[in-house]
Symmetry: C2
Subunit: 406 residues, 2 copies
């Protein structure tokens, strides 16, 4: 079961007009920098990270540079203490300069990591969620690189967090049968007009969804009119969220969040620059109890640690296609648990991997059952696309992490 080949593939998908648009990303071409890892048996693992089109080839180039170090490794031996390999790759003595732990090289590491997990689970013949739930707390912690977290989450604390949840796990396993709730982001893209939003929300309500996200970040009057329109068509009882995609500076965000708060959103997402921890902290204090959500553009566990320490986060949105893959996602989920902050992933993978990870978060880490973002635009390109019924992600049964593309 040795790795014989690692390669990258540049896949780009043109979306329908307006789909995927937000205040900052006006012309998205959803693209995956795909890692393929092949065993001597011929079994192949697929890893994904999302980009917006141009530059997807740069991530593929970084996958080729970084991935070669895994050639010859036995997949079981590799995954028995993946945290060590992760740190070695993340701290490659030359490539590290290009981050560290962010940008193109970290996206490449994410794609590689995700391919390793996919291959591992396929070789075991089980879905990712099932493999993760079958691991002991010690085996889970061996997957993780906890370096630079020692001041808030060391090895033994991570172990303790997981061990403490063991007795109550069975009480949370019902979600495997009921499915995990979704919320629909695809109704409210920035370039959709009022009629499109109304049409899509109605259809989505019919399909069983009970929560919707709206893109904001334009002129404030425009944002407020859109928010009012969504609230009207969705009704008073439905959950809505607003997403500014980093468009505002702090003074703008202070005004906009207060005004938009009138429509009772569950959160306001990415109000300003994703590196600006103190701006988020100031904003969170000013608009409490209205909550902030963020994480889509936070590249590593160290910055997540800082955000959690700052106390500004209402809902944490890590993404295993922005972070260094599935293992760093789990690390961040443990951090969030320690700080008592719920995890609602951003789905750069279109939910394919995260549908597994929220089950692990719920059952093994004991996070509350929230809902998982749903973005359907690429579903026709997956071998096993996510399957939602009555607005709930149905638990995947195929072996692997559901990342294989047609």
């Amino acid at each position: 079961m040795n790795i014989t080949k690692i390669s990258a593939e540049d896949r780009r998908f043109k979306l329908e007009a307006g789909a995927g648009s937000d205040a900052v990303h006006s012309d998205p071409v959803y693209s995956f920098a795909v890692t393929r890892i092949v065993l001597d048996s011929g079994l192949a693992g697929t890893g994904l990270v999302l980009t917006m089109g141009r530059g997807n080839d740069l991530v593929c180039g970084a996958i080729e540079l970084l991935g070669q170090q895994l050639k010859g490794r036995d997949i079981e031996e590799l995954m028995a203490n993946f945290g060590v390999t992760f740190r070695k790759l993340a701290d490659d003595v030359q490539l590290r300069w290009l981050g560290p732990h962010k940008g193109v090289v970290h996206l490449a590491l994410a794609s590689i990591t995700n391919a390793c997990f996919d291959l591992w689970t396929k070789s075991r013949g089980v879905p990712l969620w099932k493999l993760l739930l079958s691991l002991s707390p010690a085996e889970v912690v061996q997957l993780l690189d906890l370096s630079y977290l020692e001041d808030v989450l060391n090895h033994s604390e991570a172990l303790q967090l997981l061990t403490a949840e063991l007795p109550s796990r069975v009480s949370r396993e019902g979600v495997l049968t009921t499915g995990y709730p979704g919320y629909d982001t695809s109704v409210g893209w920035y370039q959709y007009d009022a009629a499109q939003i109304e049409d899509k929300v109605k259809r989505s309500l019919d399909e069983g969804f009970g929560a919707f996200k709206l893109k904001v970040g334009g002129p404030l009057d425009h944002d407020l009119a859109r928010a009012q329109g969504l609230r009207k068509v969705a009704g008073e009882k439905v959950t809505i969220m607003f997403d500014a995609n980093q468009q505002w500076n702090l003074p703008q965000a202070l005004v906009a969040c207060k005004e938009l708060g009138a429509f009772r959103p569950l959160w306001i997402e990415e109000p300003t620059h994703p590196d600006d921890i103190f701006a988020h902290q100031t904003l969170a204090k000013a608009i409490a109890p209205l909550a902030l959500a963020l994480g889509e553009h936070v590249p590593n566990r160290v910055i997540f640690k800082n955000y959690l320490q700052s106390g500004c986060v209402g809902f944490l949105q890590p993404d295993c296609t922005r972070l260094g893959g599935i293992s760093e996602f789990i690390t961040v989920s443990l951090l969030a648990k320690k700080f008592g902050v719920p995890v609602i992933p951003h789905v750069g993978d279109m939910g394919q991997i995260h549908q597994h990870l929220v089950l692990f978060n719920r059952i093994a880490i004991g996070h509350p059952e929230e809902f998982l973002e749903y973005i359907p635009h690429l579903s026709s390109h997956f071998v096993h696309p996510v399957d939602l019924r009555d607005g709930r992600y149905q638990t995947p049964q195929e072996a692997g992490s559901s990342t294989d593309l047609l």
Copy 2:
């Protein structure tokens, strides 16, 4: 004077054994991702960013992707409000996903920006420092992208900071004649043994240097022995600094900084992960009055703003080959001025560009005269290598930013 061609060149330079080594970067191959911008007149500008070897081609690839947007632009028109173009490139609607404002795409932007400044100054026939000093405060501010700084440094405050220094500028111009002091980093690389360090410090003292940096971040006993060795050979009156290059986690840093403080360093540099603002804040409080220095791996003005707001920085070390180039370096220098923190650049350019920028910082922004890092290993590759006499950078007289390579 229109731009007709933009291209990238991948230049790598093998160093002598041990040179450039630190606790984290054990095998550096100093490399430049070079941008060449050519005018219809044939005049060419050269921009640099540093990498450690592998992956330099990724930055070159990003330069090619990002740079094409400048084709056809008139260089004077471009530089008349460069801040607008900078923001447009930094927020490219697709490439932005790969950062934002960090990693490979931001390094590429830095190389492009630096080439624009080089071409502009060459077309004016003056050295970079002289062109920058000839600009009015309003013209300087037009070079800058101040977005996401509105809460601490808006356009009018930046203007005010520069205008306030105008009356006293003449009193600071003496540095153009005396030259700007240097400090020698090349005596204390991590892989140099005690005998090498002693030999190099003695030679450097003879050459007129009065300040030296030592790489630490190994086993604490080893670090302490090296520190003691340097203090002994350098003497009690010489300035020394220690650089851990991010090697410690917070608990380790707390111990190591206190122990190393016994040798009275001016600062301890990059004690831990460059993204960990709160760890630096905790550490700075614990070891005060011993100062921290950082910035070499801080990629943009927003994170610098956060570091300055945190109050943890004794000496700020921005680098125009890590930040998005000369203009973002100036932005960060203005931020530092506002917060009263001295700027002592890291020299990913081997000091070629920064020798100009410290003159601007001193004379136009009114920063104190400190010293500029000196790393001589690539001097034979430059057309106009930095010229130090008596340990002082002699003011460059050639047109441009001194970045042309042989």
